[in-house]
């Protein structure tokens, strides 16, 4: 990394609008394109502070600030447009989390990078609606929370309860949600409301190591730990009445369920395996990057293709995983209210992937080009009339689900034409960490957090007590700041604000 005094670093950064900064070439070596990031004044402070801290001479064992990581990605071969940081960006492995970048499929030098997808492949958010209102749920809230906690396996070492053997897994990896549908865990219309209809056709389970499959098998249908959660939420505010009614959300107080989870140990192992493979491929093909963690391979190399096929299998795993939990959630609600999921109108509003690489067509310099779009901690946000979004949302734009953190709000946004042009149809994914986990544990009191949640009327069930501190709202950037920035910058549009009344976490 180039280390300059902070004031010299600032010369490479330029504020080009109220909500967008430009990172000029030269900020890091070999940048092929410029970088940019979206922030408001508060997030801007966090961003620059992180850079300032990294400029201290003689610092050991530190990590690269997000801005530097955006610039390192801009130096990867085949990148087009800009390397883009979304408002919830924070330092990550190779790519920052909240970083998106697109690579030209027709350029033989272009690369695919597992670091640009993340370890939790196809980590994403699903939103289920109900026809219940807050007043229906309040009297049984504690029981319902407990029931949901009992239905969905959460936390370290928990195992899935959906019966699965090795052969089922192979099929699930290939078929994604078509498997869930065949086995009767989801409804046919659920698929319609998922990116890629819940199945990546490029998946090839044969490209996945047996180690990944062994890690994945017991964990299918489990929520996981860390920032993953299932929340019962109520509609707190509707910004766009027309779009929200298209999603089946009619008025304030309506109850929905949000599920945030990914591909579990399966995806983690696929990513790990690919990183090891790619290290070798990089040496062979003499691909130079600014950072060893930006392991990558040419898209059309064997390693690149193997990764994309294995990644697609992991994406399918994640959809089956979220589908299994959808099934369990519907069961929990149906039992509690003594009716059927159908009568509770528990449809999937949408399901987004915020750690994924996809082949998409975009207009670059006036010409349509086929790109490999990496979104790491970034959500696809396609505008109205885009052919890849479902019929129901053709006029509203794709719903974008932005999860908050424990006890804070979540949002539903919609994609915009401006986002399509500026950010390859991408926007933020969540709150983004502000404090390290260790710092959270030291500075935040367990009882205080729980007390505060209780005050706010939020029921909570957490498998690991230390997670309560780590995931406390204070540890994260304010999701409202993040969403407001995306809205003001025009890269997506606010539609619905959701407030949690019950949280289940690992």
């Amino acid at each position: 990394m180039v280390v300059r005094p902070y004031n010299d670093e600032l010369k490479y950064l330029e504020k080009i609008s109220d909500h967008c900064w430009r990172i000029k070439k030269g900020f890091q070596p070999n940048m092929n394109v410029e970088g940019c990031f979206y922030v408001n004044s508060r997030l801007e402070q966090l961003m620059l502070e992180e850079l300032k801290n990294a400029c201290r001479p003689g610092a050991v064992g530190g990590f690269l600030p997000g801005v530097k990581q955006i610039a390192n990605v801009a130096a990867l071969p085949g990148i087009v447009g800009r390397s883009i940081g979304l408002p919830d960006i924070h330092s990550g492995y190779g790519f920052a989390i909240g970083n998106m970048a697109a690579f030209d499929m027709d350029d033989p030098l272009s690369v695919v990078s597992p670091g640009g997808v993340g370890f939790d492949i196809n980590c994403g958010v699903r939103l289920l609606r109900t026809n219940l209102y807050e007043k229906d749920v309040q009297p049984v809230k504690e029981q319902l929370t407990q029931s949901l906690f009992d239905h969905i396996p959460v936390g370290v070492g928990s195992k899935g309860i959906i019966p699965m053997n090795a052969r089922d897994l192979e099929e699930a990896l290939e078929m994604g949600m078509d498997w869930s549908l065949r086995e009767g865990y989801v409804w046919a219309e659920d698929k319609e409301h998922c990116e890629e209809y819940g199945r990546m056709l490029s998946a090839d389970p044969a490209k996945v190591s047996s180690r990944a499959k062994k890690r994945g098998l017991p964990q299918l249908g489990t929520l996981g730990a860390g920032n993953h959660y299932a929340e019962i939420q109520v509609v707190d505010e509707i910004f766009d009445k027309w779009s929200s009614s298209k999603m089946g959300i009619e008025e304030k107080g309506q109850v929905v369920v949000m599920i945030h989870s990914g591909s579990r140990g399966f995806g983690h192992q696929v990513a790990t395996d690919a990183l090891v493979e790619m290290e070798k491929a990089m040496k062979r093909d003499k691909i130079e990057t600014n950072d060893r963690q930006l392991a990558c391979a040419r898209i059309h190399s064997v390693e690149g293709q193997n990764y994309l096929k294995a990644m697609a299998a992991a994406a399918n795993f994640a959809w089956v995983n979220r589908s299994s939990m959808t099934f369990l959630t519907r069961q929990a609600f149906a039992k509690m209210f003594n009716t059927t999921p159908d009568d509770l109108d528990m449809h999937v509003i949408y399901d987004v992937s915020h750690n994924i690489a996809k082949v998409e067509n975009h207009i670059v310099d006036g010409k349509e080009r086929q790109l490999l779009v990496h979104r790491k901690g970034s959500t696809r946000a396609f505008p109205p009339h885009h052919p890849l979004i479902p019929v129901d949302y053709q006029l509203t734009g794709q719903p974008v689900l932005v999860g908050g953190t424990m006890g804070t709000c979540s949002y539903v946004l919609t994609g915009t034409e401006q986002g399509m042009q500026e950010t390859f149809g991408s926007t933020c994914h969540g709150a983004g960490r502000a404090l390290s986990r260790a710092k959270s544990r030291r500075n935040i009191d367990y009882k205080q957090v729980l007390g505060k949640l209780e005050e706010m009327g939020i029921s909570i069930r957490v498998a690991s007590p230390k997670l309560v501190m780590e995931e406390a709202p204070e540890s994260y950037k304010d999701v409202t700041d993040v969403v407001d920035t995306c809205h003001a910058a025009g890269i997506s549009k606010k539609c619905i604000k959701l407030r949690p009344i019950a949280v289940i976490k690992g």
Binding site: G61, G62, F63, H90, S91, G92, Y93, I97, F119, D120, G155, V156, G157, S158, R211, K214, R215, L217, P218, Q219, G224, A225, G226, G265, H268, Q269, A271, T272, L275, R292, Q293, R433, L435, S436, R437, A438, K439, A463, S464, P465, K466, L467, E470, G506
Partner: protein
Amino acid sequence: MEVEFSKENFLLPEIKYEYLDHTADVQLHAWGSTLQEAFEQCGMAMFGYMTELDYVTVETCYEIEAKGDDIKGLLFHFLDELLFLFSAEPYLVGKKLEITKFDMDNLEIVCRCYGEPFELGKHPQGTEVKAITYSAMEVVQDVERSNFEVFVIIDI
């Protein structure tokens, strides 16, 4: 692979590891008077993050092997093997690790992992480790002062 062991004269090592700050993840810092010890401690540090080792009893022993292309690669694969031991059959939590072969010429490790399978209700659920990373990985070898340290960021 499960191997036999004797519970007689079984001693637990002292703790020579800590958890350091990192925004989204956690950094393991382990040390010892030999590099071998630092590696063992680093592995135990990782298990200690997944659950509380005080609740783990030593009931069984598994042996793992790891290889690398360089010293960092060796550490990476060593930890990845341990993570796998926990993530699939036998779901083992290692309370004590003992490296029985530490071949620095061929970069090979054989390690015995003493502990028991993870069991909900008995073992508190800590944080899930997604993966081992090369991010800011450091291996400090100060032979003169017999000071060996390793730093590893694990993705959680």
